[in-house]
Symmetry: C2
Subunit: 225 residues, 2 copies
């Protein structure tokens, strides 16, 4: 399951890893693997029509689009790559996180009122956090994606408490209006599932996907040779 | 529940908070409250006879002893305190974390073989992480303690994978031989309960304890005045 631990030396030597995400939290989590990676921020406006997707389809589509955009960008480099880089297997990782309450998708709040509304909808009950991860190996334009779901339970909280939390400024760049890895942890009584998935990148699921995609790629290359 | 958010301004003004723990992870989590605090490392050797306690009693005893030791130390300051410090309500927080598999308490591994043995006992199944927190307000020598329990599920892992993990050096200063907040997250498929409790300090439970103990203290003082 965690066999990425055994693959890290090979990947260090033979892969060029690109994270298609501007989230510092995702960068921090991916950094745990001890593999060097670059960050290329996708420009995708995340403006898909939510009414046409289930939450799971929606978050997976976002991750795939971000990944594919960066794959395209890397296919046409502005500067020629070094020979070493040319030789490496490119791996692009795209990701998106949403908070889902019932059938409603909560993304980043626009202002304090919007944050209060979101947090009121979450208090005293369970919701789901879904993070999708899309991976492209060796320039494949159709990334493979998975979606990990974690259930989060919020404490019963007064409006006064929610406002005190919003005043910390933390909700504004976070799906659902809270950050579980910081002061927002005080809003949460518990979770079921993968914690890093709530922060923004399910490292276990991503690792399994990477190992399986790389395995397939290496098999294909071996057959061709 | 999270009403510590409302108490922080008062506590900033009126409390002197001391964390009786040498764990940088506990310091990081406590820091999320935005309250200044000092760190005083307890010298307690953590050598209670485990056979005389249930795991829960054992971890709570450790937290209480660490807390009480630092309370005693602060009661006899080497240098006179400033007037401002004298006026403040002292709060000492002690804590201890253990990993429990069945009835067996796992603490920090002594060497690589010991770490492997621990991780073999944990793989492919559930275990409990218990963190106890003891709080003393205004010099009380008998700290009040609570114990938070989180269930952690490990992936099925081969000896080879466990050895690759041990080679990272991460297991050695950690109860149970893994760190969920770092590379060790790859060993874990999911948790049920409070995440920070697994890292080493259940901030939600600690906050509720602080708010309740401070409330009782203020009531007592008000009655006396």
């Amino acid at each position: 399951m965690a066999s990425i631990l055994l693959e890290v030396p090979w990947m260090k030597e033979n892969c060029r890893i690109v994270l298609a995400s501007s989230s510092p939290r995702r960068q921090e989590i991916l950094g745990l693997l001890g593999l060097p990676f670059e960050v290329v921020k996708p420009k995708f406006a995340e403006d898909l029509d939510k009414s046409k997707y289930t939450p799971r389809e929606y978050v997976m589509a976002n991750a795939r689009i971000k990944c594919a955009e960066v794959v395209m960008k890397l296919a046409h480099p502005r500067h020629p790559l070094s020979e070493e880089m040319e030789r490496k297997v490119g791996i692009v990782i795209g990701s998106d996180t949403i908070v889902v309450r019932g059938d409603t998708i909560l993304e980043k709040p626009q202002d304090a009122d919007h944050a209060l509304e979101m947090l009121q909808a979450l208090r005293g009950r369970e919701h789901q956090v879904m993070t999708a991860v899309a991976v492209s190996v060796a320039g494949a334009e159709d990334p493979v994606a998975i979606c990990e779901v974690t259930t989060v339970t919020f404490a019963e909280l007064s409006d006064e408490e929610l406002k005190a939390y919003i005043a910390t400024g933390e909700p504004f760049d976070k799906a659902g209006g809270y950050g579980i890895q910081a002061v927002g942890s005080l809003l949460v009584t518990g979770i079921r599932g993968d914690y890093q998935n709530v922060v923004g990148l399910p490292l276990g699921a991503l690792s399994r996907l990477l190992v399986s995609e790389l395995g397939q790629y290496r098999q294909k290359v071996a057959l061709r040779d």
